[in-house]
């Protein structure tokens, strides 16, 4: 039995729904934040995820980060040595999708690890008529950048847990791989 701890960076443009997803996940779907409350700098949210078919767990320290540029200098320091990355954009906001490359590069610059597990999340899929970013386009970009792709609607409580659980699993997998490597080194 092992309990891992992961520094989980949640990044993306302002208002895409990062805090909403994090709060929903923390409260097991009980809390949907309807009114927008801008995140100031970074909020840290803790949640332990059990890894299926094992007795292991991963404690996620979710760094719910602001999408506003004015906080970037502070956030950059707090992001030091990240474990996993969750990039969020809003499917009805093309600019937020275009910004993902910037956020990805910024977080990757904070690690020396050869691999940083990451996912791309297209949120607000309930806004069907206002969708401007197609699933295929986002999926392709994610694949090119070694990210898993998910779509969510925090409002309809669809899929909101999946990105968190997926990253916890990837981190757990990485640990097992690393232990194997260490055995092969000695």
């Amino acid at each position: 039995m092992v309990k891992l701890t992961a520094k989980f960076i949640l990044a993306g443009d302002a208002t895409v729904g990062k805090s909403t997803l994090a709060q929903l996940f923390r409260s097991d779907g009980a809390h949907f934040q309807k009114n927008y409350a801008m995140t100031v700098g970074v909020d840290i949210i803790m949640k332990t995820v059990h890894i299926p078919e094992t007795s292991d767990s991963v404690e996620l320290l979710i760094y719910d980060s602001s999408g506003k540029e004015i906080f970037y200098e502070i956030m950059e320091k707090l992001w030091e040595q990240p474990s996993v990355l969750c990039l969020v954009y809003d499917v009805s906001n093309e600019q937020s999708f275009n910004s993902c490359a910037k956020w990805l590069q910024r977080v990757r610059a904070r690690t020396l690890c050869s691999h940083l597990p990451g996912v791309l999340v297209g949120n607000k899929t309930d806004l069907v008529g206002r969708r401007t970013v197609e699933q295929k386009q986002a999926q392709e970009w994610a694949a090119q950048n070694d990210l898993e792709y998910f779509e969510t609607s925090a409002k309809e409580m669809e899929n909101f847990e999946v990105p968190f659980r997926s990253l916890a699993k990837s981190f757990h997998h990485l640990y097992q791989e690393k232990v194997e490597t260490i055995h092969s080194v000695v």
Partner: protein, 162 residues
């Protein structure tokens, strides 16, 4: 003073009294069993640390740390009797008399050596310690391992420091 040997072995009474990570398959005791094949793993975010307590007071000439993927390691020592009050006393003593505590505080950038264990030696010229604290501040990967800490030295009795 007894003869010079590795005093950082569980068979000599050394113990790990604190470790910030613990996987039951790779416990911190593996650092002191004298074997390179067994190790302690860190299981998450940095910094990570462990404290080794000697069975009394040791005079250490050289410390050798064998690890994997550690980037920045800081070592501190204490000559206090009680390992539980380690931090509190350190803060207190640090203000009152610097030479009593934290005689040794090093920040060492270790070489990245993917694919092989790192062996780092620290010359301490007979410094006295009852506890050693190792702080892994940063790493080259998400997880690192510590295989062995060796301390060339000898055990004293708890002699009063002048």
């Amino acid at each position: 003073m007894t003869k010079v040997s590795d005093v950082c072995l569980s068979s000599c009474g050394a113990t790990v009294v604190l470790a910030t990570s613990s996987d039951e398959h790779y416990p911190p005791e593996n650092i002191l069993d004298g074997k390179l094949e067994t190790f302690w793993t860190t299981t998450g975010t940095f910094p990570q640390e462990f404290i080794i307590s000697f069975n009394g007071s040791a005079r250490i000439n050289k410390l050798t740390v064998q690890s994997y993927l550690v980037r920045n390691l800081k070592i501190e020592k204490s000559i206090s009797k009680d390992p539980i009050s380690f931090e509190k006393c350190a803060e207190k003593e640090r203000r009152e008399s610097l030479n009593c505590w934290i005689l040794l505080q090093r920040k060492i950038y270790l070489e990245n050596s993917e694919g092989q264990l790192q062996t780092e030696e620290f010359m301490l010229s007979g410094c006295q310690a009852t506890h050693l604290r190792f702080i892994i501040e940063s790493s080259y990967d998400h997880f690192v391992s510590i295989h062995r800490v060796m301390a060339d030295g000898a055990m004293d009795s708890m002699s009063p420091t002048a």
